[in-house]
C-alpha cells in the first residue's frame, strides 16, 4: 500500500466517522501505528474542517483554507465570530459574559505558534499597554496561560482605511492621516515603532476617527525587524539588514499609505518579491497627479516627501508630517519638497538648457536673452528656502496684528518713560536711545524665534524692525539737522518745518533698500547691503549705492 493511499484511507475513516456518527476520531488513534502520517493527516483534516465550515456558512465569509476552523473558547467570554486573520494571528469578536461588553481577542495562528514565541506575543501586549491614545487600540488583558494565549482588547467597529479611503474627500483623507500621524508620534515618543503600517491596520469609525491596530511587529531595536511586515509598505532600509530602523521607517509607511489614498494604486509593484524590492530600492514612483489629475499637489508633495528613499530626506517625525498636512488643511503651502520633483525637473530641464546653447550657436537669440532663459531655468531648478515659503504665507492681518502690537508696546514705553531720557540727552544720542534699543530688541527676538522654527512670526518681527527704520532716520535727521537743504522750497509736505521733503525722500529710499535686503542678500551677516540708488530729483545727480555697516 502506498503512503498516499494509506493516508487517504485513514482520512476517509475520519470523515465517515464524522458523517455517520457525528463524532471526531482523534488524530492519535488514527495514526498510532504510523506517526509520520500525523502531520499530512492533520492538514487534510484541517482542510476538511474548513470546507465544511465554508459550505455551512454559505461560502460567504472568507476563511483562508489553512486557518483553524472552530471558534476558540475563552473563559469568561462568549466567542461570537472571527473578524479577521492576518499573517500571524487571528482576531475574534467576543462578548464579556459579565460586563456584556464586546471585545476583540487576538490569538496566534496554531500553525505559526512555533515560529512566534510567547515572548513576542507578550511584547505586543506590553507595547499596547503602554499607549494612552484613543487612536491606538486599547488592551484589556493578556492571558498567557489560556490555550491559545490571547490578548483581549478593545473591539474596533468600523471600516478599514483602505476600503473607505477612495470615497473620502481629499481634505478628509488628509485629516485622517493627521490623526494617524499624531497617534504614531505618541508611540514613537514611547520609543516604539509600529513597523507594519498599512491601510488594513487602520480602522475608521463612523466619525472618520482612525484607530491603529496590530502592533504585532512593533519594536524599538533599530537592528532588528528587517524584511518583516507587508512587502509593499516596506521602507528601503527594511530591505537592507545593515541599515537601522527607526521612527522614520514608519514615516515611510505613512507616505505609502497617503500615496495609495491619493493615487488609488501602490507606488511600487512587482509580480515577484525580488522585483518589488528592486522597485522600492531603485525606481521612482509615478506622480499621483499623473494617475489622477484631481489629486491636490500639496498632498502629493507630502506623500512623496515621506516616501523619500533616504530617511534623512523624509519628515524626521510623524509629528512633522502631521504639521505639514495641517498646513494643507489651513490653506498654507506645505513645506515638503520631495527630491523627486527636483530630480524629475532636472532631467527634464537639461534638454531645454542644451537647446539654449544650440539657439545661441545659431544666433537665433542674443546672449542676453540666453542668459535670461538660463536664469529662468535656474530659478525652476533651485529649491526655495523654507523661510521664504513661510514668509510668503504671512497674511496682511497677521502682519497688521504683529505691527500693531509692537507699536502699542513702543508707544506706551515712549509715553511712560522714554520722553524723560529724550529730553535729557541731546543730539545724535536721541534717536539711538529711543529707537535703536527697540530696533535691536526686535532683531534679537526675531532671530530667537527663527531659531525656534517660528519662522513666520520671526519674519514679522524683522519686518517690524524694518518699519522702525524710517522713523529712526527721520528723528535722526531732525535732531542733527542733516539734509535740511531745500527746506525753503515751496510745497513742503510738513509745513511746520520739522521734516523737509528731501529728508522724507531719502528716508523712504534708504528704508526701502534695507527692507528688501534680507530677501536678496541673506548670506551677508556682517552688514546690510543697501542697493537703493539715491537720486536727487532736483539736480538729477546720482549718489553711489551705499553700504551701511
Amino acid at each position: 500500500m502506498t503512503v498516499d493511499s494509506d493516508l487517504e484511507q485513514r482520512f476517509a475513516r475520519f470523515v465517515e466517522h464524522q458523517v455517520l456518527h457525528g463524532t471526531r476520531l482523534s488524530l492519535d488513534s488514527l495514526v498510532s501505528d504510523r506517526p509520520h502520517l500525523a502531520e499530512p493527516l492533520r492538514r487534510l483534516i484541517d482542510l476538511y474542517d474548513n470546507l465544511t465550515t465554508t459550505l455551512d456558512v454559505g461560502l460567504m465569509s472568507q476563511p483562508a483554507w489553512a486557518l483553524e476552523p472552530a471558534l476558540p473558547a475563552f473563559d469568561g467570554f462568549r466567542t461570537i465570530e472571527r473578524v479577521g486573520a492576518g499573517g500571524m494571528g487571528q482576531v475574534f469578536k467576543l462578548q464579556d459574559v459579565k460586563l456584556e461588553r464586546i471585545v476583540a481577542a487576538k490569538v496566534v495562528r496554531a500553525d505559526r505558534r512555533a515560529n512566534l514565541p510567547l515572548a513576542n506575543f507578550l511584547r505586543e501586549a506590553r507595547s499596547l499597554a503602554l499607549f494612552k491614545d484613543r487612536r491606538i487600540v486599547q488592551i484589556f488583558e493578556f492571558r498567557a496561560d489560556s490555550d491559545p494565549p490571547v490578548i483581549i482588547m478593545e473591539f474596533v467597529d468600523g471600516f478599514e482605511l483602505g476600503r473607505v479611503g477612495p470615497s473620502l474627500e481629499f481634505r478628509q483623507r488628509a485629516r485622517v492621516l493627521i490623526e494617524v500621524c499624531e497617534a504614531l508620534q505618541h508611540a514613537h515618543d514611547l520609543g516604539l515603532q509600529h513597523r507594519d503600517l498599512k491601510p488594513s491596520n487602520i480602522m475608521l469609525d463612523e466619525a472618520l476617527s482612525p484607530k491603529i491596530l496590530d502592533f504585532g511587529l512593533s519594536a524599538s531595536d533599530p537592528s532588528t525587524g528587517h524584511l518583516m511586515g507587508t512587502p509593499q509598505y516596506l521602507a528601503p532600509e527594511q530591505l537592507d539588514p545593515t541599515q537601522p530602523i527607526d521612527a522614520r521607517t514608519d514615516v515611510y509607511a505613512l507616505g505609502v499609505i497617503l500615496y495609495e489614498l491619493l493615487a488609488g494604486t501602490m507606488p511600487y509593484v512587482g509580480s515577484q518579491t525580488a522585483e518589488l524590492h528592486d522597485a522600492i530600492r531603485r525606481r521612482e514612483p509615478r506622480l499621483p497627479v499623473e494617475i489622477d489629475p484631481r489629486v491636490p499637489e500639496p498632498l502629493q508633495a507630502v506623500a512623496l516627501k515621506a516616501m523619500e528613499r533616504l530617511p534623512a530626506d523624509r519628515y524626521q517625525s510623524a509629528a512633522e508630517m502631521a504639521l505639514d498636512l495641517q498646513r494643507y488643511l489651513d490653506g498654507r503651502p506645505v513645506l515638503g519638497r520631495p527630491t523627486i520633483y527636483a530630480s524629475t525637473l532636472g532631467t527634464r530641464l537639461r534638454p531645454h538648457i542644451d537647446q539654449i546653447e544650440e539657439w545661441l550657436r545659431l544666433k537665433l537669440i542674443y546672449p542676453h536673452e540666453a542668459e535670461r532663459l538660463r536664469a529662468a531655468y535656474r530659478q525652476l531648478d533651485a529649491r526655495e528656502d523654507d523661510w521664504i515659503v513661510e514668509s510668503r504665507t504671512l497674511s496682511y492681518s497677521q502682519i497688521a496684528l504683529y505691527l500693531g502690537a509692537f507699536l502699542l508696546v513702543c508707544g506706551s514705553l515712549f509715553y511712560f518713560g522714554a520722553h524723560r531720557f529724550y529730553d535729557a540727552v541731546k543730539g545724535v544720542a536721541r534717536p539711538f536711545l529711543v529707537l535703536a534699543a527697540p530696533f535691536l530688541g526686535l532683531n534679537v527676538a526675531g532671530r530667537y524665534l527663527y531659531g525656534r522654527e517660528h519662522k513666520a512670526v520671526a519674519v514679522a518681527f524683522f519686518l517690524a524692525g524694518v518699519g522702525l527704520l524710517p522713523l529712526f532716520l527721520l528723528i535722526w535727521f531732525h535732531e542733527t539737522g542733516v539734509w535740511v537743504v531745500a527746506k525753503d522750497v515751496p510745497n513742503q509736505i510738513f509745513n511746520d518745518g520739522s521734516v523737509s521733503n528731501r529728508q522724507l525722500q531719502v528716508t523712504i529710499l534708504l528704508a526701502g533698500g534695507v527692507a528688501r535686503a534680507p530677501y536678496e542678500n541673506r548670506g551677508a551677516r556682517d552688514g546690510v547691503h543697501v542697493p537703493a540708488l539715491l537720486v536727487d530729483p532736483g539736480s538729477a545727480r546720482r549718489f553711489r549705492p551705499a553700504r551701511v555697516d
Partner: protein
C-alpha cells in the same frame, strides 16, 4: 452561521427585516451560482449566462418570496434550486429553438433596477473566489459524488429528503456523502 440559522433568517426576512433578507441572499447567492453552473453542464454554460440565471432566480424568488412558505421543503436553497432548474430548462429551450429573449439577457450593468438585497448578493457571488475554487474541485469529482454534495450542502436537504429523492436508504446516502466529502477534500488538497 449554522444551518438552523437559515430558517431563523427566513422568519426574520418574512417579518420584514431588510438586514435578514440581505444576509439570506448573500448566503444563498454564494451557493446558488456554483449550483447553477454545475447543474447546467458544460454545453450550456457561459460566464454571463450563469450570472443571468442567478439574477433571474434571485429576482423571481424576491418577487415570490411569499410562496416559499407553502413549499414542501424547509430548505430555502432547495426552493431556489428548483426555480433555478426551471430557469435553466426554459433557457435551454430558447437556446434550442434559436430564440433569444432580449429582456431576459439584460446584462448586469443594467442592474440598477434590482432590489438592494438581490444586487448585493449578486456582486458578492461573482466576486467570491472561494466559491469558485470549491466549484472547480466539485466539477472534477465523479457525477455521483458531485450530486450528493450538491443535494446535501448546496440544496441543504436532510438525509431523509435525499434518500427519498435518490431512492436509496438513508445510511447509504450518508456513506455516499462521506465518500464524496473525502474525495472533495482530497481534490482541494491537490489543488493547493
Amino acid at each position: 452561521m449554522k444551518r438552523t440559522d437559515t430558517s431563523a433568517l427566513v422568519e426574520q426576512a418574512r417579518a420584514g427585516s431588510a438586514g435578514a433578507l440581505d444576509a439570506l441572499y448573500g448566503r444563498c447567492a454564494g451557493k446558488l451560482l456554483p449550483l447553477i453552473r454545475l447543474r447546467m453542464g458544460r454545453s450550456l454554460r457561459t460566464e454571463l449566462e450563469s450570472r443571468d440565471i442567478l439574477q433571474a432566480v434571485l429576482l423571481k424568488s424576491f418577487e415570490r418570496f411569499e410562496q416559499f412558505h407553502g413549499s414542501e421543503t424547509r430548505s430555502l436553497m432547495a426552493w431556489l434550486a428548483r426555480i433555478a432548474e426551471n430557469e435553466i430548462r426554459d433557457r435551454a429551450d430558447y437556446q434550442g429553438r434559436g430564440r433569444r429573449d432580449a429582456a431576459r439577457r439584460a446584462p448586469l450593468e443594467e442592474a440598477e433596477a434590482l432590489p438592494g438585497p438581490v444586487r448585493s448578493a449578486l456582486t458578492q457571488a461573482i466576486l467570491n473566489e472561494q466559491a469558485r475554487r470549491v466549484e472547480q474541485a466539485l466539477e472534477a469529482l465523479a457525477d455521483g459524488h458531485r450530486e450528493i454534495i450538491l443535494l446535501r450542502q448546496f440544496e441543504e436537504l436532510t438525509f431523509p429528503e435525499i434518500a427519498a429523492r435518490l431512492g436509496k436508504t438513508e445510511d447509504a446516502c450518508r456513506m455516499a456523502f462521506a465518500r464524496a466529502m473525502t474525495a472533495l477534500t482530497l481534490q482541494l488538497a491537490t489543488r493547493t
